[in-house]
Symmetry: C2
Subunit: 248 residues, 2 copies
């Protein structure tokens, strides 16, 4: 028996998110199906980030146990042959038997990409959120600074979520202009349900002048989802980096 | 009666190319349909570059004549509401009545993007051609130099094409590394059928060491399609710039 860690990239456009859902195409479902067929035993992966419907990833992480004799490093190649083109294993490796991706310290970085042009560019519509309203990057950057550190992010959590605590730590939140896109990069130990998309939606309100940068402080203090901006659309969001503490 | 010029961006993934084809979705067909419905008269656009099935564009050009009283600049907004999301007009403007996009001097720039990573990245699969074989950019750049200038490009033309002459001029051909992509940019007055994709396929043969950079000279001289490399897949190709001589 060995435990294998997969690094998984996917285009979330066609999926109902990561998490297994009977009757719906999900990343977890596709991995379980392809692994079970490849290894000829029933496999259920444990995922690291349960990304939402339509969200993309360059490097989500999944682990599973297997008795199969195929070397762990070879699984990536064999598995890719059985997966649809919008899911691709980037690496596979054996890890310690007690490694659990959700029970160990990690840093995740998400990017939220905003296409800020006069008209939508079709070749980027699937991986950015388009808005023709000009956004002020300087003000968005000023607002971003208020998020950094340990805070109760209750105002930035979808109300339906059931969690022990809404306190989280953001290590870094950068807003940068990359050509005709504005990219929000947020690095943290973990995020609440919809947190990055609500942060992005709030920063866009600042960028278009509907909120002052300083307003973010009182929105955090309010601990009230109603005070924050809207949840930005899923297609703009990509999980771009996943570091486990031992790797850092 | 006025003549209107449209700048059109599209994701070619779902289309059988630019040119009208009964029974198949094409960019020209979608434009004719949406314009005719908007202006309440039968419209047939004249396209500048008849891009192939699966090829993308940021700025292809089409013109048409209309009696409608809507100001030319407003057509872009109204038309985008009637087009599918993978086609978007970037601008509309009135031009002289005798302006014809294929009968005037122009410079077109195409980019061919190669994703050169160990495994495919799903979020870029639609707009790049993936190969895990490491490519030598320096050698590709050496080979690229042989294409620049006026040449008979018969070796780089799909044999089925019927054309008066296979002589064309390439003003510039750059090969650059952009992160994990290799981007071939080629600027010319006009291109033969499949010419950019055959150039890309040939440069990839050089990059992987199957052809020496100097071999390109003798391939051009041979005037024989069989001597050149394969036609690289359509998805990697995007029309990125279109300049008419009066604009330059």
């Amino acid at each position: 028996m060995k435990r294998v860690k997969l690094v998984v990239a996917y285009d979330g456009t066609a999926y109902h998110g990561w998490q297994l859902q009977p009757g719906s195409a999900t990343i977890e479902g596709e991995l379980n199906r392809a692994l079970s067929a490849l290894l000829q035993e029933e496999i259920q992966v444990i995922g690291a980030s349960r990304t939402d419907s339509g969200v993309h990833a360059l490097c989500n992480v999944a682990v599973f146990d297997t008795d199969a004799r195929i070397p762990a490093e070879k699984i990536s190649y064999a598995l890719n042959q059985r997966l649809p083109e919008d899911i691709r294993i980037q690496s596979s490796a054996e890890v310690e038997a007690d490694f659990h991706p959700r029970h160990c310290d990690s840093r995740k970085t998400y990017e939220y990409r905003i296409l800020n042009t006069r008209f939508l560019l079709p070749t980027r519509r699937l991986y950015t959120h388009f808005t023709y309203v000009p956004l002020d990057v300087i003000k968005m950057r000023q607002a971003a600074a208020y998020f950094v550190g340990e805070h109760d992010f209750k105002s930035f959590c979808a109300p339906a979520a059931v969690v022990e605590t809404t306190v989280r730590t953001i290590y870094e939140l950068a807003v940068e202009k990359r050509g005709d896109e504005i990219v929000i990069s947020v690095c943290g130990s973990g995020f609440l349900y919809n947190m990055v998309r609500i942060i992005a939606g709030t920063l866009m309100e600042v960028g278009r002048g509907k909120l002052a940068p300083e307003a973010v402080k009182s929105i955090i203090d309010a601990k009230d989802r109603q005070k924050a901006g809207p949840t930005a659309p899923a297609c703009g969001l990509t999980l771009v980096k996943y570091e486990f503490l031992e790797d850092i």
